[in-house]
Amino acid sequence: MENVGYLFAAYTIIWLVVFGYVLSLSSRQNKMKRELESLKEALKEQPPK
């Protein structure tokens, strides 16, 4: 199985990039959900002017 190193490299890159992208999306989304919650809380306490 010559060149199997290249095969491994290609699939690893695909996996790393897709996984990394999904992770970053996830963490950004969690951060936003928290921000959204806290904003909604703050708005409930002071009614909009």
């Binding site: 290249y6 095969l7 290609a10 695909i14 992208y21 999904v22 936003m32 959900k33 904003l39 708005l43």
Partner: protein, 219 residues
């Protein structure tokens, strides 16, 4: 069962199936050996990237026509996922090329057009962030439209230019049925993955505008 969870389930099952097909089921190709298996992910990545580009084109036109924010959200989400997929198919193509053709890169029509496509994607995001306020989505839509029309023209020009110096051929002969099956399953897998990533990204963008709105009207 939200759409997203269904897609997530399908994507997972399909990915496992694809990996099985690529690494266990499909026979090794005669001339290129084991490395040829990169093909089964490389090609679907490319096709879905082009699909994403077309989606950007279509929603950019819709946005310029109707001016509703949701069209811009769809266009920019597709552009983002498209950029990721384009980067991946360029990278895997290069990794595949090195053992098979002996070079990391060659300026043949397909590769060069793909590189231009990648640059246009980058320009799309650049313009969106560099133009202020309402201009960002509008300018990005312009780039999405003009870029999509231009990429086939670029490909045509480079093809006509390069037929003077024939480059390495990508595939001789047709595909065996087992290879076709593997390719198709991988294609479906990546299309589902694209749809899933789009859904996530769109939900995020909607949350972003929600936050912006709340900040403006509330505090």
């Amino acid at each position: 069962m939200s759409v997203r969870n269904i897609l997530l389930g399908c994507a997972t099952i399909l990915m496992v199936a694809s990996l099985y097909l690529v690494f266990i089921y499909v026979p090794t190709e005669a001339t290129m050996g084991v490395v040829q298996r990169i093909f089964y992910f490389h090609v679907p990545l490319a096709w879905v990237a082009f699909l994403a580009f077309f989606v950007v084109f279509a929603f950019s036109i819709l946005y310029l026509w109707k001016r509703a924010e949701k069209w811009d959200v769809l266009a920019s989400a597709s552009a983002e996922v498209g950029t990721v997929f384009t980067t991946l198919f360029l990278a895997t193509g290069s990794i595949w090329a090195k053992p098979v053709w002996g070079v990391w890169w060659t300026w043949d029509p397909r590769l060069t057009s793909a590189l231009i496509l990648w640059i246009i994607y980058i320009a799309y995001h650049l313009v969106r962030s560099y133009a202020g306020g309402s201009r960002g989505p509008r300018f990005a839509a312009v780039v999405g439209i003009v870029g999509f029309i231009d990429v086939p023209i670029v490909a045509l020009a480079i093809t006509l230019w390069r037929t003077q110096h024939p480059g390495p051929a990508i595939f001789q002969g047709g595909l065996a049925p087992s290879m076709m099956l593997t390719l198709m399953v991988c294609l479906i897998t990546f299309t589902v993955l694209y749809a899933l990533l789009m859904l996530i990204r769109i939900a995020m963008k909607n949350d972003e505008s929600e936050i912006r709105r709340l900040k403006l009207t509330g505090n």
